[in-house]
Structure formats: structure tokens, C-alpha cells
């Protein structure tokens, strides 16, 4: 059963559009429907943001917050810290790579699932499992699998001729491991969304392309991509946000190590506020800077999305 592909208001003759608009005019969306959202935004958005700003501009420790106005001292302290500046770069890199990997893997999985035909079924449910596993358990399992001495995968490394392979022992390796593990955990969400979108491609389009003798890749580009692209882009945006906020995984698998190589910005904020020191003011300053960074990256992603949609 195909869902209608055209949006309600596009392509309608002018007369119908006018009547529709007139009909809508009499039935505005009532304001009070937005109240739950506004309350939610106040509690989870504005209030923490205002508090964060207050903490960032004052001498605040976990023991005694808001001790006195200090202007931008906390921002300076954040800039001077060993790990923070680099952590912003690491967060951005992590988000981009993990998103790319999750999107590619999820899309490939969805395509493979669709090509195999049949229902989503048990196989599909198995593919969903990583998304459902708590990050703490994921972290412990991977850490023990990858341990260089006595880890679960040492047999595999020996068989492949790379015995002693220790990805978690080097900075780059640990970073890559975290990227892969995060993508492993979130690819199922992408797979789910893309698969659902693929179901919306009418069967006739597949058949027509096959009749025309189009190869698999060609079919993909001209038939599937236009339909699925918006979904893939939207999934990518959500993945970007989730990847910027990654924290449990880093804390359990590498605790930011070795050295500072996997200290991403959210983990650095956590260290500053609750672990290494109790400097909440500096942590709040770091959060503000991180929020700005995420905003910039999302803005860029939004531009790309609008640009692509404009072309399609």
C-alpha cells in the first residue's frame, strides 16, 4: 500500500488552494496546544541555560555556587585547561565520523534488508539490538573484547596475523574504537528510519527501473535516492546531535584516555564539574562554548539540508 507522495498543498490548482486557505483561516491552531511544549522548554531549556550562564559568570564550585561575579575568568580558565580546547575539535570530529559511519551502515543495512525482501521480522529485530543495550554494558563488553592481553578478540587478531593488536592503547586507535562503537550503537535507528522510508517507494518504480534494464547502482541513484534522501538527512541531523552529547560510552570504555586523546567536550565538562575538580563555573563556561559549537555545526548541516532539498 503506497502512501500518498504529494504533500497536501502542492500542485493544487489555485482555486482549491484559496478555498483551503480560507477554510484554514477559520480554524487556527489554538495557542494553548503549545503550552506543554513551552513549559517543557522552560524547564529543560531556558532554566538550565539561565542557570548555566549565571554559573559561568561567577566563582562557582560544587561546594559553593554563585560566590561572586568574576566576568569572563571562567572562560579564560577553560581556554587554559589542558584538555578543553582539543576536546572541542575531538567532539566535532567524533560527531562527524560517527554520524557518517552510522548513516552509511544503517542505510546499507536497510537496503540489504529491503533487497532480501520479506518482512522486517526476527532478523530486523536482531539488527535493532545495539540501540537497546545500555551504554555501560556496551562499554564493558567492548573493553574486555579488545583488551590486548586476555581479551576476547585476541584469538581473532592472532588468526589475522596482527597479534597484540591493541586499538585502545593508542590515542588514534582509542578514538577510532569509540567512533565505531558509537556508530554500532546508533546505526539501528538509521536503519529503521531508512527502511521505513524505503517501504514508501512504490513497487511500480522498482519494477519500471528493472524493466528498463537499470543496474542496481543506477536504480539506487535515480529511483531510491530522491525518495529516501530527506529521511537520510534528517536521520543524520539527529545522529549529529546525539554524537555531540556522547558521554557514557567515553566514561566507561576509555575514561578519556590514553592521555587526552578521547576526552570529548562533554566528558571534559563532566570531569571539570564532578570529578577532577569541582569547578562548576568553568564547566558551565565550557558548556556554553560547546553549545555554540553544536549550534554552528547544526546550522551548517541545516544549510546543507535546505540546499539539497532545494535541488530535489
Amino acid at each position: 500500500m503506497t502512501a500518498t507522495l504529494e504533500r497536501p498543498a502542492t500542485g493544487a490548482p489555485a482555486a482549491r488552494a484559496r478555498t483551503r486557505a480560507q477554510r484554514r483561516a477559520g480554524h487556527r491552531v489554538p495557542r494553548w496546544l503549545a503550552i506543554p511544549a513551552v513549559v517543557s522548554l522552560l524547564i529543560t531549556g531556558l532554566y538550565p541555560a539561565a542557570a548555566g550562564l549565571a554559573l559561568a559568570l561567577t566563582d562557582s564550585s560544587l561546594a559553593r555556587p554563585l560566590r561572586g561575579f568574576v566576568g569572563f575568568d571562567n572562560f579564560v580558565a577553560a581556554a587554559e585547561s589542558v584538555a578543553f580546547g582539543g576536546s572541542l575539535v575531538r567532539s566535532a570530529l567524533f560527531a562527524v565520523f560517527a554520524t557518517a559511519l552510522a548513516v552509511v551502515a544503517g542505510t546499507a543495512g536497510a537496503l540489504a534488508l529491503q533487497a532480501r525482501g520479506g518482512r522486517f521480522g526476527l532478523l530486523g529485530a536482531v539488527l535493532l539490538l545495539p540501540m537497546v543495550t545500555p551504554p555501560v554494558s556496551v562499554g564493558v563488553a567492548w573493553k574486555l573484547l579488545l583488551a590486548p592481553v586476555g581479551g576476547g578478540l585476541t584469538g581473532l587478531w592472532d588468526a589475522l596475523g596482527v597479534s597484540g593488536f591493541n586499538p585502545l592503547g593508542s590515542g588514534v586507535g582509542a578514538f577510532a574504537t569509540l567512533v565505531v562503537t558509537h556508530a554500532w550503537q546508533w546505526a539501528p535507528l538509521v536503519l529503521l528510519l531508512v527502511y521505513a522510508a524505503l517501504l514508501g517507494v512504490p513497487a511500480e518504480l522498482w519494477e519500471a527501473a528493472a524493466l528498463d534494464g537499470a543496474g542496481w547502482w543506477r536504480t539506487l541513484r535515480s529511483v531510491v535516492a530522491p525518495v529516501v534522501a530527506p529521511t537520510v538527512l534528517a536521520a543524520a541531523v539527529l545522529q549529529l546531535v546525539i554524537a555531540f552529547k556522547v558521554f557514557d560510552l567515553v566514561a566507561v570504555v576509555t575514561a578519556g584516555g590514553p592521555g587526552v586523546s578521547t576526552i570529548v567536550a562533554s566528558f571534559e565538562v563532566f570531569r571539570t564539574a564532578f570529578r577532577g575538580s569541582f569547578e562548576v563555573g568553568t564547566a558551565a563556561a565550557e558548556t556554553i562554548v560547546l553549545g555554540l559549537l553544536v549550534g554552528v555545526v547544526l546550522g551548517a548541516a541545516g544549510l546543507v539540508t535546505r540546499h539539497t532539498r532545494g535541488d530535489a
Binding site: 497536501p8 491552531v29 546499507a108 530486523g124 545500555p134 564493558v140 567492548w142 529521511t231
Partner: protein, 267 residues
């Protein structure tokens, strides 16, 4: 040929998806000295990790807490997200602004936000309670649910709504009686995703719950990490206690999940 290639890809993917959990099962049957034996199978199978895990941390209580928090949070998210998605989908420019505001609120990691939220919960007496946790998780996941539901509401044909208005229903009543039944599949899917998010959430759980009466499984799992000689076998057993019920839920709901999402491509 294509079918064979895709089967191969799927087989590898399924293997990768399940490998760590299979390893956890193997770990749960090993003693501390056996944990790093370099293989997938225990050298000596031991069953005592399972009962021991329940002794080391109050696992049964935490399991109950996790489910209560996740269910409560999902309910709250659904209650807030449905009218909100209607606004973002149907209210033109202001709807889009609301959508952007929600996404913006979801952007920053909530680490420092823990402090003001802690004070807020304390001022209404909801620290160290599953109700407080459900509240915070429920509100925190609203942007995700709205993001997922927005597309579904847009898919509801305008004619259907207009027919209801012609019949004399107000917009809000139309939402409840006409639009809502049409987006139920999407709502189920979004609710399931939010359930998983709330169930696996760690930061809020560890910050707002101090005693076993309110602590969830993610906190319990971290307690194993907090010991100097980590009982990996017990931790693996506890992980499986956390994972298996949710897996069962995911498997049972997979049809609703896919069906729901397929009825409205997310834009």
C-alpha cells in the same frame, strides 16, 4: 546475485549486532580470574555470578525502578509531544520556530544542567524518587519525539481534518478524534524509541537518585565499576538482567516499530 550479496551483508551485520551480548553471556559464567582468558568461552563455567549479582547490588529493586521510570517518562513524553508535533507541523512559521527551539534545547549536553535541575527537583520534593526521574527524562526526550512525530502529522491529509471541522469539531477536538488515531503507529514508534532512551539513561539517574529506592539499573551497573576488583562476571549477569526484558520488548514491538515509521517518511 543481489539477494546473495545482501544476505551476506545482513549475516555480518547480525553477527556484529549480537557479538557483544553473546560475550556478556560468556562473561556471566566466569570467575574473576577467568575473565581475561583470551577466548569466547569460559574455562570453568560458574553459575554463582547470577545470584551473587542480586546480592551485590539491589538488582531486583533497580529493575523495577528502571521500568517504572522508563514507562512514566514515555507516557509524559507522549502527552507533551502529540500536541506539540501538531503545532510544529501545522502552525506555519511559529511552528517551525518551536521546532527549532526544541532542537536547540536538545543540543547541549545536560551535564551542568544537572545542578539547576537538582535544585528544582529538591524544591518540589522530588529528588531521590522515581517520579522525579520520570519527569526529567520525560521532558528531556520531548524534542526527539516531536522530531519523529512531526512528519506523521504532516502526512495526515488536510481534507480529513477539514471534514472534521466542517462537522463542527474544534481544532483541538479534531486533533484528538481524527488526527490522533491516524498517527498512532508513529506514536507507538516514537514512544518505543523514547522508552529505550529513558531506560538506558545514566547521567540523570546517577545525579537525582541517591538510594536504592529510586536508583535504576544503569546506576546499578556503574556500582560494579566502582569497586576496586571489578566483578565482571556479576556485572555481565546484571547487564543481561537489564537487557533481556527490553530485547523481548523490542522483538515483540518490531512490527509496530517498522509499521509505524513506514506510514510516514520522516522529513
Amino acid at each position: 546475485m543481489r539477494a546473495a550479496a545482501s544476505r551476506a551483508v545482513l549475516a555480518v551485520a547480525a553477527l556484529l549486532a549480537i557479538a557483544p551480548v553473546v560475550f556478556l553471556v560468556s562473561l556471566s559464567l566466569r570467575g574473576v580470574d577467568d575473565v581475561q582468558n583470551g577466548g569466547w568461552l569460559p574455562e570453568r563455567v560458574r553459575w554463582d555470578n547470577w545470584p551473587a549479582a542480586f546480592q551485590t547490588v539491589p538488582l531486583a529493586q533497580m529493575l523495577a525502578n528502571s521500568w517504572v521510570v522508563a514507562l512514566g517518562a514515555t507516557l509524559l513524553t507522549a502527552l507533551v509531544a502529540v500536541p506539540t508535533a501538531y503545532v510544529t507541523a501545522r502552525a506555519g512559521r511559529s511552528g517551525k520556530r518551536l521546532h527549532s527551539a526544541l532542537l536547540a534545547a536538545y543540543c547541549a549536553p545536560p551535564i551542568v544542567a544537572v545542578l539547576p535541575l537538582y535544585f528544582l527537583l529538591k524544591s518540589v520534593g522530588l529528588t531521590n524518587s522515581v517520579v522525579g526521574l520520570a519527569l526529567v527524562n520525560g521532558l528531556a526526550n520531548v524534542p526527539v519525539a516531536v522530531w519523529l512525530l512531526d512528519g506523521f502529522v504532516r502526512r495526515v491529509p488536510a481534507e480529513v481534518e477539514e471534514a472534521a471541522w466542517v462537522d463542527g469539531l474544534s481544532v483541538a477536538a479534531g486533533l484528538r478524534r481524527v488526527v490522533l488515531p491516524l498517527i498512532v503507529p508513529g506514536l507507538v514508534a516514537a514512544s518505543l524509541v523514547c522508552f529505550f532512551l529513558a531506560y538506558n539513561e545514566f547521567l540523570f539517574a546517577v545525579s537525582f537518585a541517591q538510594s536504592p529506592s529510586a536508583q535504576t539499573l544503569t546506576v546499578g551497573l556503574s556500582l560494579f565499576q566502582g569497586d576496586r576488583t571489578v566483578q565482571f562476571g556479576q556485572q555481565a549477569a546484571a547487564s543481561l538482567v537489564a537487557i533481556v526484558p527490553v530485547y523481548v520488548l523490542a522483538v515483540l514491538a518490531q512490527r509496530a516499530l517498522v509499521g509505524g515509521l513506514s506510514q510516514g517518511a520522516v522529513r
